[in-house]
Symmetry: D2
Subunit: 419 residues, 4 copies
């Protein structure tokens, strides 16, 4: 990879363990699925769980085994076509919108594929010559971070896939805790400053978090928790979805074209609001953070509140002060819970920062250059992780990004204003 | 049902046997499927096999059990929504285009549904009071004919679902016979005549085959076999798909918009033509009938040949002279084979007759009125059955119908001309 | 043209006069238009008046001057591209949907084009050698009938173009007569019969009216006037647009997709119904015939009425008994008026006959073969002419045709039933 | 307007003259148009010249006469509907995509509207009470800047409208100068710095240029002229449009979906490249700046060149050093000419800065708040003006913005890189 990114010192044993733990975590997520669930692609943005399970495996096969094992023969001649997501440089690919039409390879074949690649990967990690070890270690680490991203996608996609079903099936039988006491909203102030932004340590970080660079930050304050359902309901009741002056022009067009009147997964039955969750259809909890709004909705809500969304630099400077504690996947609760702070975990926070390159940004070399840089257009940055993010996946400098109309990700709203 | 349709004399034992045989036949078709295959809907016209298996069961539950069993309680409160195809009069329904997104009910639940309904149906057939027997017998007969239609749809849809897969999986391991000797094309002449068209017997027939009525038939002749792949290839090589004067205006627009250059399932590899079949991808057999053309292509091919497509009345008058012998599902060969005659079975034959009502046509009463009549618009009639039709399902008066651009059905071409 | 069609005996002087009269009639229709109006194409089905005026001229240039004048040089090298409608055999053409984007040639240039072609046409008619006269006479007659068809299209298209304007401008300042007395609905009976259908005389008729042939007609009766607005309003008030059982499946899908709740040009203001007409926006006249329904609506209305739409053979057999009297363009009233009979003129009548070829139908030779035959798919026949049809253009055997969703043509409804 | 924006000291006489000069300039642009040209809307992004001429007039009527003239009665009750562009707060509006369908009001009526509003406006400027003068002066100035924006849109839209015409008509008969000597590419270096960005003077500036604020600028260099056609041709010949690794993912999808292989207005005839210009179809001048590329193409070209696009702050800091000299509309040449520098005029320069709000940005009060802020999403900033920009309209802090796929604006490419 790039010369600027010093390889993290990582031992083989440690990585072997990491590899196995991460790979098993993906399978654990799929454990509650029926064979039928593995096949669904409810919208073009989601992928069938079966495809995710194959694709993350293909990532190791393509970028590790193909690259570092002499005379490696592919597991199946067409899996490169079937499981390539968007790496134009390694060949053509099955169209994204048609992943739900792939009845073959079957679930069984995909699990056989996983097992076969895992065996070869463990062998590679254990026995690659020392000269190649740094490159392999770095690439494996990227592959594991990639797999963690797909673990979050699995939760997101499974939720959407189940939500379109008229039977409203739950992903998990685990009950949601009953926390309905609201936390009062406080504010955290900061003076203006020329600060450092971006990753500069020696652990793992994606290319888009680099290089570290200066940016000028105006004096401002940040809400000390996420905006709650009760607050968002007030926005709705105040005609929020009917008042064009609150919306970006693109957003106003979009919500009208799609008939949006509430966040994704909300539905009204007999006058009461319910929310579809991975724990089933639940009465809306007024104290819980509002989830699954698009950027358009987050921005309109902030305007209606007389506030703004924070810049990503503001959030980053706050996250740098804290330990990465919060509601992550290890909680077993896959729906955002009420609380205070909520800086890490719970829900990704929309920022007022378009997703663009940091100054002097360079993509990785070769196919890995397609990982992040080519998406720097028309998207907005989100920060901090969510309840469906693996805890060890997140960092203060982590930049997530989605289109302004996307809302199947676990996104939330934190308000901000200038001083 | 309608007073004009005298109920066929049918015994309870006979119907019990018919019921079981037909229901088992559907399950036999699905036997080679993996769980993954059950879920696929490759285009809006196809349905997932799982849905077919539920829908035909729903038909019996709705139109027999609900109608004739006192205090019947539905198997599941939402199956009427999930498995209703297009019967607006029995309630709203899951959108057709989204049947492939239904991971629930699961395959297991659908088979449990089948078993439960079958038990109740056998009970109903055995024990319904004599006064209701004629109505029940007639409705069960309709339900079995309906299920046979879906058996053919299962073959059609499975074929399409598998065809979009880059791995090109075969439905059956059974080898295709090697018959590549072409049969010379002869002609069968008929003088002009005022003939009777439509069904008038006392067995089962659909409402759209009734009532019998007079129609004037001009003198003509009919080809004594279906047009062959070799003949269609000559049309292609003569620039058939590039010559607008051979095409209906709608057809010319359609093939250009969709980039059609050959029948569905044909593909060229290294200069050789192959055809995807339920037996896998096969070299094109020049002697076999050309299959899976749209009406547009059949009509253009006929014009290029200096001939026409036959009217449905012409085909019917020929079919009435013959025993229903031919290549049907019981052959175990689900791809059209070379031969002569081919009046029944092998492939449905496009006619030059738009699908409209016969004079004095009446729809059935109640919800059954939605069965056929509401589709009498923009479609063309096909006659004679195909290799994926159950043998006992076909009659000389049987009217099948598809849109002129449809071609995933097993359709073929028989030429005709006026004398 | 075809050998089967004996040329009508027509004198040169007579044709010269016809030519001038017909060409001037087109210009008279455009007289009330502003330059702005000439340019509008409100939907893909309509064409800008400027384009119509050029296209009918191009027809004479291409099929007469190019064909019969030695060494003819085109008026402009690109007008064949610009003004060709759909004749694939004479070259490529400007896309239909983009005719409204042609600011050049300008209106002035189009009128200069008309003048230049007229001069050459009058010369050709006067001086073509006798040996070519029959062919020229026949082709000119076709060209004049073609221009009359576009005269009706001008009325249809101008009406639609003006209707989309928020200012609701009238085409003509001429007041509509106030006839609001309804005529009671009577019935005309006919016994079953083997009748002759189609054109067999020696005057002009289109290829699609030929050849004359036998068809069997069942005993039936026909309403003796068109269905009135009051009757259609009763259908609406009875929930006609909300009851799927009244509609063809394609129609039900179409009206829901497009949100149709009433015929084209109807609008409700403060609870009262109005109708946009070429005479401006007018209160709906309950006694006047309902106009601008699609086939879907006509068919649903007939079903709701407990009747059917007539077959085209039935209407033809009635029209053959009558003189072609009725409300045509020479009335100066371009909106259907109440009355009885209404067999010719007033409104085109939807029939239950798909538009298909008569037995032994042959297209004309060469490019003229594209005139009618290639549209014989997915359309329904209408009969009898309308108030925007030139009186001398109509015949009992005349077959007009539109798609079942079309309704910008002046179409009406006559009920029928079997005896 | 906003209290933060101190009104520019402007005398009534001066503004009267400005008003007349600006209004006449719009009419002068339309002088060469035929009535046909006034009506065209070739794509949804363009508007008919007639509509532009009405809309800018409506702006004065709505935001000056309605706001400041007691008891003002609108010129026409529906012009607010017809000519409102996107101001949701002043009422509903005719859909943008359907502006080309408005044959009424006619051209004559629009000019009468202009004359009537001008008379009232001159009266208002001359006689409004002194107490209201600052507010009026400021709003009129905004209206004149608005009209200048539409003057540029007129050139852009007329060019596109003419370009879709198969006759390829020229807007002006003025010959293009023959300057084909290329200027060598040099570079201008800058050290890192904390700089002030945005407008802080007391003349006119749009809300989106405010407030002035600090931003940190990394050391970099900028090309000292725009990239030339010859350079862009080298990109094309090197397979630029076929190499996904050069493109943003959205851009790669877009160019493939739309079949782009070259900038807008380029076409190849017999192997030679031509470019459609307001001076007609011209051979491509290799020395002239490449024009009408989208952001996607500019970005891919920059990546292929081993460079980047400049941030808007970098361009602004350069523009602040210079007089606004360059090729503007007063040159009478409406196509970019070769040269050096080209900082102002010639072509708008794509920047690598998404169009977002400056820190503490506030929209104007009331309806004027819709002017700029609601478009801050999914667009990229362009800087410096073009040959179709009025000279007096531009400023160093001026922020233009378009979607990344837009290319009918006069956009060009300036390369940059970090030191
Ligand atoms: Fe991935
Ligand atoms: Fe069915
Ligand atoms: Fe025509
Ligand atoms: Fe404007």
């Amino acid at each position: 990879m790039s010369v600027e990114v010093p390889p993290r010192r990582v031992e083989r044993d440690e990585l072997l363990l990491d590899y196995q733990r991460t790979r098993q975590a993906s399978e654990a997520i799929c454990f509650p699925l029926s064979p039928d669930d593995y096949q669904i692609q409810s919208i073009v943005e989601t992928s069938p769980p079966k495809w995710h399970m194959g694709h993350v495996t293909w990532f190791f096969e393509t970028f590790l085994l193909q690259a570092f094992v002499p005379d490696y023969r592919p597991f199946h001649p067409q899996f490169n076509y079937v499981f390539n997501s968007y790496y134009q440089t390694v060949g053509s690919m099955h169209p994204r919108a048609r992943r739900g039409l792939l009845s073959r390879p079957t679930i069984e074949e995909v699990y056989a594929y996983r097992a076969a690649i895992d065996a070869r990967m463990l062998e590679l990690i254990a026995s690659v010559p020392e000269s190649q070890w740094p490159a392999v270690a770095e690439r494996v680490t990227l592959g594991l971070n990639h797999e963690q991203q797909h673990q979050e996608l699995l939760y997101m996609d499974i939720k959407h896939n189940l939500s379109v079903n008229p039977l409203k099936p739950a992903y998990t039988a685990q009950a949601l805790p009953l926390v309905d006491k609201a936390t009062p909203l406080g504010w955290l102030e900061r003076a203006e400053d020329l600060q450092e932004t971006g990753f500069a340590g020696d652990g793992f970080a994606f290319d888009n978090e680099r290089p570290q660079h200066k940016s000028w930050l105006e004096a401002h304050r940040l809400a000390d928790r996420l905006s709650a359902n009760a607050e968002y309901l007030a926005f709705i009741k105040d005609g929020g979805y009917q008042r064009p002056e609150l919306w970006l022009a693109d957003g106003w067009a979009y919500i009208n074209q799609h008939g949006w009147q509430a966040p994704l997964y909300w539905e009204q039955r007999d006058g009461e609001w319910y929310e579809f969750t991975l724990h089933g259809l639940m009465p809306l909890n007024p104290a819980a953070p509002v989830a699954h709004t698009s950027y358009y909705e987050a921005d309109a809500f902030a305007r209606w509140s007389g506030k703004r969304l924070p810049l990503e630099t503001k959030l980053e400077s706050r996250l740098l002060e804290l330990e990465p504690e919060g509601q992550f996947t290890d909680s077993g609760i896959f729906h955002p819970q009420p609380g205070s702070g909520q800086w890490f975990g719970t829900l990704w926070e929309w920022t007022a920062s378009p997703y663009t390159a940091y100054p002097r940004f360079k993509t990785l070399e070769g196919s890995m250059g397609e990982y992040n840089g080519k998406f720097m257009n028309n998207q907005w940055v989100l920060r901090g992780g969510a309840c469906v993010t693996p805890r060890e996946h997140i960092r203060p400098t982590y930049r997530n990004f989605f289109y302004p109309h996307d809302r199947w990700q676990f996104s939330g709203i934190r308000l901000a204003e200038y001083l």
